[in-house]
Symmetry: C2
Subunit: 348 residues, 2 copies
DNA sequence: CCCATAGGTGCATACGATTGCAAAAATCGG
DNA sequence: CCGATTTTTGCAATCGTATGCACCTATGGG
């Protein structure tokens, strides 16, 4: 069989092919596909027609090489068990797509060397910016990105370094809101199963919560780290229940709160909110499911993502722009997992 | 201020810089970083040293331009509400990272023109392959990818076209297993709230289920499309309960099953599994949560992802390789949401 | 000790686009 | 209708790397 290969016919069509077909120069083709370039209407039309016939589309990679921008954003994420992240990720991807960017995903579970390898790969792809939604990114990431001139925005994550941009919810205010709500509900023995205390989100929520209690002269009856892990939080809840008999528990995020509720109900035989009130943080979709009906502080994922995209693109446009830290306020969503103060509706 | 810009110092370091620093040619540098190229050990060492000092890393985009492979895999996904997808996505990304590939995410909710735009962008990035986990990808995707010579693997999705590779669980067998289990449990009035009947997953599960019932001469007492949407399924469940009083319901996936259970319990006051058994499909993490404790057919996400990656990479290596359709068997995971036949343990 | 062979290395080109510059064409005012 | 602008267009260089080819250097066998 000496037939010429079929595949030859479908070889890549380049701007040169289009130029030839349209009888113009290659640069003309390029300009037609470069927004803001100087092209006459008739030229544009001829080229577009030829391009359409040949099925031509500009090669983004080649373009990136010369413009120095890949229009790729690196997203570093740890795990996706916590529903908040898939939710945010979907929004982020959509928002960036609308701006002509795309998301390259990097899953980096651990900390340390594995993470550093990922960082290297991130830079290899010449990403224009990075959204870091993973705890445990070594500080080296930031210095290397700084050196490479790649803007980084921390999503739902804080960092002491002022040169780092970040978008979070107002975790301190959120924690305090929960305290005020529980106090108004007449709770006296209030416990806290916190988010991981190695991260600012967990610490700030806890701090705000304690501050809120302290305003009424109260201390948490118990406080333990749930590590943002369902199973850990569930075990802790059981232990706290048996040891301290709290009348309310504030859990550092919804994902853990579901585990806590299950442990209380099915292992301890506790009725929620009759015996104990439970409040979470995030307002993921499942919080509204009847099985949990969880009172929780909403993180406005939409606005957080919007802010993230805005900051990131601004820094890409204008590299010298100073870092910015944004905390977005979120309302307490009152549902059925915690006793509601009598006069709550009147108050709010 | 006529100071030279600080930024100048951090300008990109290229293979030429490394070559100069090491006193060798640029091609030598390239070879050192190209696995399988011919380089002497001493050369390799000199170059690596210089590279390390300058902080050089090869530019993946430039490399892609010349090799014609980007080492980017496009992942097209619809929504991430169904936990099965984040779970699978995390695995997929990890598996591909291990092979030196990375995932570029495309969220395409709807069908039709929006999707086609996304397809265009996908091709613009010169992805080496595509994993399609979204329903409603127009057939045009496939023809265009075929033309462009880009392999596509459908993940958890079927398609009549034999030229398309796909990885699914064995949906027919899974549906039948559920039927057998429910029959063995002595259920007589069995309903089905199916996955979207526009997709093969939904249809196959339903067909297998019906076949299983038919083996015992039974028909579903009711059968309706839940569209893979929680709210739709919940409403349908309520309607079916009120109209048909089933003693068991097989729901087309876990995500809907949770909604169904909530509707039955909290709207209809039904006790599960005492009044009615519920069985799902997927075995997402939440299925094991005590609140649902859902009996369900496991989709082995790990194996499905593994197969997907294997097939995709194989087709990238060897473009003429024929398409392959794989259905991975998954066990029925017996939990507490459905009555368990007396002799079940003996049987299995 | 010499020649055939294999393995390393450098030169130069190619990948597919963007973009500064200069020439050509179109526009405009007088 | 002509000269001065302004707009279009083409030419050619460039981005950072991979790779065919030719050349050079060891190596080993006879």
């Amino acid at each position: 069989m000496l037939m010429p290969r079929e595949r030859a016919t479908r070889d890549k069509v380049t701007s040169l092919d289009v130029a030839a077909a349209a009888g113009v120069s290659q640069s003309a083709v390029s300009r037609v596909f470069t927004p803001g370039a100087s092209v006459s209407p008739k030229m544009a039309e001829r080229v577009r027609k030829a391009a359409a016939e040949l099925g031509y589309r500009p090669n983004v990679l080649a373009r990136s090489l010369i413009t120095g921008r890949s229009r790729i954003i690196g997203l570093v994420v740890a795990y996706l068990h916590n529903q908040f992240y898939p939710e945010a990720m979907e929004r982020l991807s959509n928002a960036l797509q609308a701006e002509g960017y795309h998301v390259l995903v990097f899953v980096a579970m651990g900390r340390g060397p594995e993470v550093d390898k990922v960082i290297g790969e991130l830079l290899d792809y010449q990403v224009d910016g990075i959204v870091a939604a993973s705890v445990g990114l070594s500080d080296e990431l930031f210095t290397r990105c700084e050196e490479a001139g790649i803007p980084v925005v921390l999503f739902n994550r804080g960092h002491a370094d002022a040169r780092l941009s970040e978008v979070t919810s107002d975790n301190f205010a959120g924690g305090r809101k929960v305290a005020e709500f529980l106090l108004a509900g007449g709770h006296k023995r209030i416990a806290h199963i916190s988010g991981w205390q190695g991260a600012t989100t967990g610490r700030d929520r806890a701090a705000g919560f304690r501050a809120g209690l302290a305003a009424d002269g109260l201390d948490p009856v118990a406080e333990q780290d749930g590590m943002y892990k369902r199973e850990v939080a569930a075990d802790v809840a059981q232990a706290i229940w048996e040891a301290d008999r709290p009348d309310a528990i504030f859990v550092g995020n919804d994902h853990m709160a579901f585990g806590v509720m299950d442990a209380l109900r099915y292992r301890c035989g506790v009725s929620i909110p009759h015996d104990v009130s439970v409040v979470g943080y995030d307002d993921v979709q499942a919080a509204a499911w009847e099985a949990y009906d969880l009172t929780t502080v909403r993180q406005r994922a939409g606005r957080m993502v919007e802010a993230t995209v805005r900051m990131l693109l601004a820094q890409i446009e204008e590299p010298e722009r100073p870092a910015e830290k944004i905390a977005i306020d979120g309302p307490l969503i009152v549902r059925g997992s915690a006793r509601v103060p009598e006069d709550w509706n009147a108050r709010v």
